[in-house]
Symmetry: C2
Subunit: 521 residues, 2 copies
Amino acid sequence: MLLYLFCVYLTYTEIMKCDLYRLGVVIRHVNKALGDVIVVMAVSKDQESFLYQQVINLIRDMKLNGTLRPGDKLPSLRNLSAKLEVSVPTVKQAYIELERQGLVEARPKSGYYLKALQAESARPTRHSMTSKPVLVRKQSLIEQVYEGVHRPDCIPLGLANPVMAHPSDKGLARTMRRVMSTGGAKVMSYGPMDGFAPLKRQLAMRYLDFGLQVAPEEITITNGAQEAIAIALQCVAQKGDVIAVESPCYFGILELIESLGMMALEIPVCSDDGIWLDDLEQALKTQNIKACVFSSSINNPVGSYMPDCRRKRLVNILEEHDVPLIEDDVYGDLYFTAQRGMPAQCFSEKGLVLTCASFSKTAAPGYRIGWILAGKYAPEVKRLKRALSCSSSLLNQWTLSEFIASGDYDRNMHRLRQVLLCNKERMIAQVQQHFPENTRVSDPKGGAVVWVQLPDGSDTAELFHLALKNKISIAPGAIFSPTCKFNHCTRLSYGLPWNERLEEAIAVLGQLAKEQLKKAQ
Amino acid sequence: MLLYLFCVYLTYTEIMKCDLYRLGVVIRHVNKALGDVIVVMAVSKDQESFLYQQVINLIRDMKLNGTLRPGDKLPSLRNLSAKLEVSVPTVKQAYIELERQGLVEARPKSGYYLKALQAESARPTRHSMTSKPVLVRKQSLIEQVYEGVHRPDCIPLGLANPVMAHPSDKGLARTMRRVMSTGGAKVMSYGPMDGFAPLKRQLAMRYLDFGLQVAPEEITITNGAQEAIAIALQCVAQKGDVIAVESPCYFGILELIESLGMMALEIPVCSDDGIWLDDLEQALKTQNIKACVFSSSINNPVGSYMPDCRRKRLVNILEEHDVPLIEDDVYGDLYFTAQRGMPAQCFSEKGLVLTCASFSKTAAPGYRIGWILAGKYAPEVKRLKRALSCSSSLLNQWTLSEFIASGDYDRNMHRLRQVLLCNKERMIAQVQQHFPENTRVSDPKGGAVVWVQLPDGSDTAELFHLALKNKISIAPGAIFSPTCKFNHCTRLSYGLPWNERLEEAIAVLGQLAKEQLKKAQ
């Protein structure tokens, strides 16, 4: 590994035309057999521009010619300094300037990463609030979306299944084998209705990291977060009640509200900071809101992140009005921010927060294990879980509890976050490159999906069908709102193994969107 | 094995006092080291009574002195004939007479088995019907019962978990290991919302045995039968609606009805033939029944079996009134009758039957996999399942589908039925022996529980607490009725590995019941 991180493979013609050459490319090694040339870049002390500016140009050029791609890690300060024969502070100065320009991002204890260049102004726009709660009628399109994502020949851009980007199946399978060997007939039997005690203890210990003291009996294990939210809703509201949801809102929640005969009231979500609290306050004054379901940490589909101070205010506002908050925290652990957002639970004083989460986005979607930490509703939640579906799979709970205890869960999740962050940058860059002009895209602070807002005149419900013919599944905007607000938007998942086939699918999708737009004009 | 099946171990004093001796016991082998004597019985051709009568007396005596116990298999005709040096027809005549007397039972392709002697008149009595639907309020006692059965130091006579009597964990674990090896990351992922297609195909094939053609899309896989029934109820009824249930009724269904805010109307169950159809017809005329939940094949807690002709009439009556039947068929496969009862589904003409079942009573309670075959409600059921809890564990579904395909499932279940039938006889005999005089006990035609009706003055809710102090858990009668009809009854499970500890527990329980009764008088 002569040149370590900073070796790049370029064809000779690429070198001739690229700006790197202008900076003084030194050819160290020619490998004609491969038809490639390995090049190393250097800065020139004779040039007029500052050295750090030359480093900046170098990085910019490498991005331009595709050598460095959004999501990639930049060389370490020490490495690049040695390679270019400039001082470490010079490289550092260059990186800091690039970060200021929004081109790279510093990640604690990890280094600098290339971002997809995206102006704030290119984020999805704020939409107006619908003032009335509505009955949800979404099931037909949702059904088709589900069928699309499960077609084995389709690229599932419509499926939010981040674990696919970095599967933990081998570690889990190993753990499960061990559990079956040691547990015998016991692991195949019924577990306690409210969950396997060691798993609940593990979860309680994790909440302790946020300073939250949780007794295991306050936690009820469920069949994934979807059941957790279903139980929470049935616990605090009934048919006909108004439930405030995010807008856009994860369609699974809308379908659930529809199934329970409740009404949805949409509160707009800022593409950066979570729901607009002013809109919520306004709605609380004018509407008889019975409960809220918000993904108060990392949102799905926008990927916004509500800062702790705002989340605290959210809880305060709601508890002031005695309105329970059902917190969908499934993406909370997949944060790209410096720290994980604190569960809203931490700010609750009246016990009106019901935190719902699961292992489906972080380890084992197919295990169907989630949980609910239900504040003052804990006893009622426990009864409802028992009545509605008895217990959850003991073997799966047991395996997960061992998986967490061994540290494998956190190690896997750490790596998963890195992969997702890299994928996110690539996804944004791909969308910018291939989608119609004036397409806006969210910049997720975590999770596995971006929210793409296409120019007016686009129809993503139609695009969904066109894409399906091209063996690409997407989640069209229409299913994220009971009032059909987002028919020019779509959610795309980057929670997938990144490869050329995926890139091609995004390009095809962009092309389809362009053609559709041309027809509409 | 010199003497094969018919060798019996008796101490010498036992031989001296027992009637066998009178028939001419031939001592073939004395094993004084063990303090036991191995004896072989013979009939005497010099005696005045018929030879077949002597065989009858021999079997009776062996039962009396505990050599043969209820549930045990009698020697084969050929074997006994050779051993006693009488003709096969003589033994046959004796066995037929014993069967007529109700002491033994012939099982097709298997042989003759000793039954617990029980007069029809000793079955639980018919109780009157409550004419009004009521709101259910049972949760506190049910909660305590659940806590009791999951205490590791308790003998769980209150838990209906028949798989414990013959666990299939080794075969299942083997299958699961194979599935994990071949399926890789895929088995850990989300499965289709309505279930894993190969499992649904297996289930459809099983229904074909009853002449029922089911398309896999008519089946939705659920988290056990409890979720299946919960979905079925939410599909056909809503808060405040009247649901007809069996009386006594499995408490899980009562708790579910309570959770959904529905009303329960109790229809008495005959301890032999399932619900009383006349009572049902009467209720349909006077009450606005929205749906019925009946375990129309094998009932829990009584263990009655509704013959096919009655089940057909049940479906006809209900469809005539356009009332959906939610059929709880979890025990259907654990039949002791010559054939399995046909699912009520087979008799439906209007598609108003929703069959709910699971693998929890036959293979893997901890997998939490059930299903629902929902007639004309299938599309709505599919949507509800998706909205309420997303999909069910793919790995568990996959494993079960392979387990069925390999034939292991049916082989295990065959053996499980044999063990349960043997246990049932032992349980009845134990109750007869140890419980207060005039205790009545049901004679289950399948399943894993008996329904014990104690004499007036007994209080099984109190007995439950007394038993718990003695590390025995029971399911007191009160939780099987929303109107507290059965406080002198209890359900006891024989779905357990039969051993001395269990027998002792039943004896202790009987003693506690006797003491309680004495105090009350």
